[in-house]
Amino acid sequence: MLAAGGVMAGIYAWERYMLRVRVLEEWQTIFIEIAGEINYSAESMSQICSRIENMSVYGKKFWGEMSKQTKYKNEGLIGTFWKEYLDGYKYWELLSAEDKNIIYRFGESFGTLDIYSQINEIKMYEKRIEGNISDARQKMREQKKVCIFMGLISGLMAGICLF
């Protein structure tokens, strides 16, 4: 039982790698969605954020706040509140420093450029995040066995110590 518990703990530790991949994949989808909206319908940022709020799994609260703030123009430039509200993004703490940097940098220029520049910039960030997703998937595969094995060992050691 303790061994099984250890394995479960190992799986839980491994899932954190998996969630990082999921969150990054969602951001990649969001970048593609935003680029599409800007290119084909040139909707306002508030409308885009509202649309993404509906489709997002991990960032509903964040995109909801962004939609509200960009509608009412009370909080200042987007760079001032983008970072602050990102703390409310689910599993934000699981992302690496580089993942976060990509998303911060995107927020600083979102909505301040013309169509051509904005779309090119989004493509650039999307490529960077794709690189990070590949790394994250690789890590996830590598860590799976390690986490489960460590969990099993911890469970067995706990059993030995107790008995």
Partner: protein, 314 residues
């Protein structure tokens, strides 16, 4: 008025908003706010120019004026474009953006050319916020000269700049479209090349232009008039600031289709307009039945109304 104040204040950078909150400004008299990089904030208030000081007071002294920085101009552009600069690329290319409330924001800066056309304006360093002032009812007094029992007359409004010709045109359109107990409402088509009549923001007119009015926003007048006639079956077509050969040709086309035209033209008086090469031709052919001349230097005041023979009827 609070709504108008709110609409204007929200276009300004946060630091400048604080100044305007201290400032004892009646927004009904505010005509323009000009932001120029490294220059003091200037406003046109009740037809007089003032600077805004660092304490939020209106002053005539330039040296006391609060200077606008480059970063503040960028910040203002973010709010003006609703955090969506990409969505206003076409408007920026034209040199102005119509914002919520019908206010027009003119922009200037470095032009980027592409194959002989303006592609974009980058490094926007000059912003002119023109506050929209709809004057509902300003055309009530002239309507009886513009129609009889059977028809609405082709009308030309002649005015120098900044004397209220667009405001008058807008109200004529509104009254014609809405009708009254005596007169039936008429279908009006506005070709609003510079978004000044309807002041459409994201496709929605911000001014009251009547319940039977359709708007072609941002469309060149000559093409727009033809399109309007073919697609929307108007009884009246309204256009602002006619002057070119294409405009005149389109107006004749519209009139030949049996549709009435209300238009405005720059000019001090009838004599000046008659001497214009293109519009003068329309006047000499007596294509317009009514001419409304506005007083120079006086906002919205009518100097005279003429009929097609040049007789003064008001």
């Amino acid at each position: 008025m609070d709504k108008k104040k709110d609409e204007i204040i929200k276009l300004l950078p946060l630091d400048i908003r604080k100044l305007f909150k201290f400032c004892d400004i009646e927004f009904s008299k505010l005509q323009e706010i000009r932001l120029r990089v490294n220059m003091p904030i200037m406003i046109l208030y009740d037809s007089m120019e003032y600077f805004i000081s660092c304490r939020g007071e209106m002053t005539k002294e330039r040296k006391n004026g609060y200077r606008v920085s480059c970063a503040q101009i960028k910040e203002a552009m973010v709010y003006i474009s609703n955090y969506s600069r990409y969505a206003f690329e076409e408007e920026i290319r034209q040199g102005f953006i119509t914002v919520e409330g019908g206010h027009r924001v003119g922009v200037a800066g470095k032009i980027i050319w592409d194959s002989g056309k303006i592609r974009n304006i980058s490094y926007i360093s000059f912003i002119n916020i023109r506050v929209s002032h709809e004057v509902i009812g300003c055309a009530r007094g002239v309507m009886r000269y513009l129609r009889d029992e059977s028809e609405f007359f082709n009308t030309l409004i002649i005015s120098p700049p900044r004397c209220g010709k667009t405001t008058l045109l807008r109200d004529i359109v509104r009254i014609a479209a809405d009708g009254s107990e005596i007169d039936r409402g008429m279908t009006v088509g506005i070709v609003d090349e510079r978004s000044e009549i309807g002041a459409c923001h994201l496709g929605c007119p911000q001014n009251n232009i009547g319940c039977r009015t359709d708007v072609l926003d941002g469309c060149p007048k000559s093409q727009g008039m033809m399109m309007m006639v073919r697609s929307m079956a108007p009884e009246i077509v309204a256009v602002d600031e006619i002057g070119s050969k294409d405009d005149a040709a389109a107006i004749e086309y519209v009139m030949n289709c049996g549709i009435n035209v209300i238009a405005t033209v720059h000019g001090l008086d009838m004599d000046e307009v008659i001497n214009k090469p293109v519009i003068g031709e329309l006047v000499r052919k007596r294509r317009f039945k009514r001419y409304i001349v506005l007083k120079r230097g006086k906002m919205g005041q009518i100097a005279a109304i003429f009929d097609d023979r040049g007789n003064v009827i008001y």
